[in-house]
């Protein structure tokens, strides 16, 4: 349980001239639940997208399980190789999008079972059974035949969560999984994550719910302006941060 399953070293990512990730390095142990906090626009979403290889890092080293993706600044990496690795990584890592991206032409149930059937080659029955279970877990029993346009914001968010979990990824990345939820549901969804944590899944959560970061996660990453300012246990980050910037930020929520 203490092997490093996810590792980044000096990861950089630019969009045009805008440096969005600057020399990001981290190590995440198998089975840990990590929270990423930080101001809007500091690069949290981009980091998740890079880990899931939806964006290819400009330079640096990224390891997911045994798969290593490495690029130099003036690197002459082969596209084909990158592509292949990206695909392998994505198969291990699930990502809940901030913008959800449900498939509008499929019902809730079909949204959830599509990938298990086509990618994991599960039988339809098995996939449906699991999907219904997941829907119940996130409080959406009975909505399986609705289309996405018939869902409220919070319902959509929960469907998206169920869709990601249905793939049983080794590592799950969540981008603000509770943003559209009311406090009651937030509790429920966080409970799902805590359960998964107990089952040993590695999870990385971008969140604004400081209470959750503080109480549920093993470690917390604080980002500012494309950099990881501090990476440590919640107690450390929230109560005794090393960096004055971290301190300034977390103080906002104590008041």
């Amino acid at each position: 349980m203490s092997s490093i399953i996810l590792e980044g070293r000096n990861i950089c990512k630019k969009f045009g001239d805008i440096e969005v990730l600057k020399n990001i390095s981290f190590e995440i142990q198998n089975g840990e639940l990590i929270s990423i906090i930080g101001r809007s626009g500091c690069g949290k979403t981009t980091l998740l997208r890079c880990i899931n290889c939806l964006e290819i890092i400009d330079s640096g080293y990224l390891r997911v399980g045994e798969i290593v993706m490495e690029r130099n600044i003036n690197g002459n990496n082969k596209n084909d190789e990158l592509k292949e690795k990206a695909q392998k990584i994505r198969r291990k890592v699930g990502l809940l999008f901030q913008s959800l991206n449900l498939f509008p032409h499929l019902t809730v149930l079909e949204n959830i079972i599509l990938a298990p059937i086509k990618v994991k080659k599960e039988s339809r029955d098995v996939a449906v059974g699991k999907a219904l279970e997941l829907l119940e877990k996130v409080g959406l029993k009975g909505l399986e035949n609705r289309y996405p346009f018939q869902l409220s914001g919070g319902q959509s968010q929960r469907v998206a969560i169920a869709r990601s979990l249905a793939m049983n990824p080794e590592i799950m990345l969540y981008d603000e999984p509770t943003s559209a939820l009311d406090p009651e549901l937030i509790g429920e969804v966080l409970k799902v994550m805590i359960d998964l944590h107990k089952e040993g899944m590695t999870q990385v959560v971008v969140t604004h719910a400081m209470n959750f970061a503080k109480s549920a996660s093993d470690k917390v990453i604080y980002m500012e302006d494309g950099e990881i300012i501090e990476f440590g246990t919640p107690e450390k980050i929230f109560n005794n941060p090393n960096d004055p910037r971290t301190e300034a930020y977390v103080r906002l929520f104590k008041e």
């Binding site: 899931n52 939806l54 695909q87 994505r90 198969r91 890592v93 699930g94 990502l95 999008f97 913008s99 991206n101 449900l102 498939f103 509008p104 032409h105 599509l114 990938a115 086509k118 990618v119 994991k120 289309y147 996405p148 346009f149 869709r163 990601s164 793939m167």
Partner: protein, 508 residues
Amino acid sequence: MKIKFIFLVAFILLPQFFLISGEQKVLRWAADAESNAPYIFQDPKIPSNIIGFEVDIVYAISEILNMQTLFVQNQWDGLIPGLYRGDYDIAINGLEITEDRKKEVSFTKPYYITHEQLVVLKGVENINSLSDVVGKKVGALKNSLAERILRAKGGIEVLTYEGEVNAFVDMKNGRLDAVLVDAPIAIYYTAVNPEYVMVGQPIGEISYGIALRKEDTLLLNKLNYALETLQKSGKLREILEEWNLWNFMMETYLDDFSPSNVPPKKYQYFIESVSKKSELIERIDLYIKFMPVFFKAALITLGLSLVAMLVAIVAGLLIALARIYGGKVLSFLAVLYIEIIRGTPLLIQLYIIFYALPSVGVKLSPFLAAVLGLGLNYAAYEAEVYRSGFFAIPRGQMEAAISLGMTKFQAIWYVILPQAIRIVIPPVTNDFISLLKDSSLVSVITMIELTKVYNQIASTYYDYLGTGIITAVLYLLLGLPFIRIARYFEHRLAVERKSTQDYLGKVV
């Protein structure tokens, strides 16, 4: 306008008749019953009867020779070749006796001699002779004596037509100053279309004779004997007078200058019968007869188009995928294919497939060549349509799919394509309808489809408007089911109602 007819039934039943006939007692005579009044035409009041001054002459001859007659319908162009095919024994249908034709067939002595006649629009004052049309535009039938005369005159802009009706209509539309045609045509056409008038003196001389095989000298003698008898008895003159065709040339020819005494009752009958109303009925009658031909051609067009569209849709998808999803080489090839195929005329592609491929050993049937030509051509267009559809799908969809572990191909197939289909339905429907109509091009590779049949019938019957409308309606009908199906799918696929579509239609 004149009335034109077709004896399809006679034409189809033809072979049977030969088996029965063959006796010497039967005079098998051929003509094209779509020739206009006064030659040989359908009785405006009793469409199943064919009448005309040449019909009267044939009957008069057969009476003298004591033979039965059997009418054989044949295309005018084919009248002389048909003689040698043995389908019939004589042909009579305004056939001018020329040296050229005499090389191929024997002609009886002339049964009618006439001239070319200038026709202008009523009210035109300055045209009264051939000299008056020098420097002007004059219409004539293709390869007619009229054309030869006009060209020989020089300085006249000669426009030739397949049918006289076109020439007359073009004159009405102001594109011609005069028309030069055989006098009988002019007499009958101006009689029922008073906006045209005949002007000037007779021009040139034409003799019509009955054509028969060179070897049938016995029959030739018989016919000439019968004609002479008709001339002497005054019967020929009577027929011509009934049809209002007796003229000074016939007077000279028959040396008979006595005053006219027979009223032109058949001419009168024709003029009276050709009222707008009966014309319409005739026409509808005619169109009903065309229907089987049209339907068959429409089915060919539809079948061809459906198969070709299938080819286009499948090949287009592959090309679009190659362009977007393939590597550099594939994608380059796809772009190349699209640009070259879209960039060059379908006609030339069809020519190459049908006429040039055999030289490298690939000899396709017309249908296969047509399907491949149309299908592969439209595939280039469909590929671009798909591309537009794919790119209309928000990027998040693709990301969501591949972050669930799908391959790019799976993502396209299960996520992008089903959403894109709905977007591309209108342009694909557009293209199917275009293809339906472009299928008319395959007539260049000997396929007989709807437009070809239209051209055949319209130019044969000089009826561009009526048959044109029928053809247009048929194309419309062929396209409609597909449009309906497309609309049905468009709505069915509109489950993701978060599109502008339904919103735009709403109360708000």
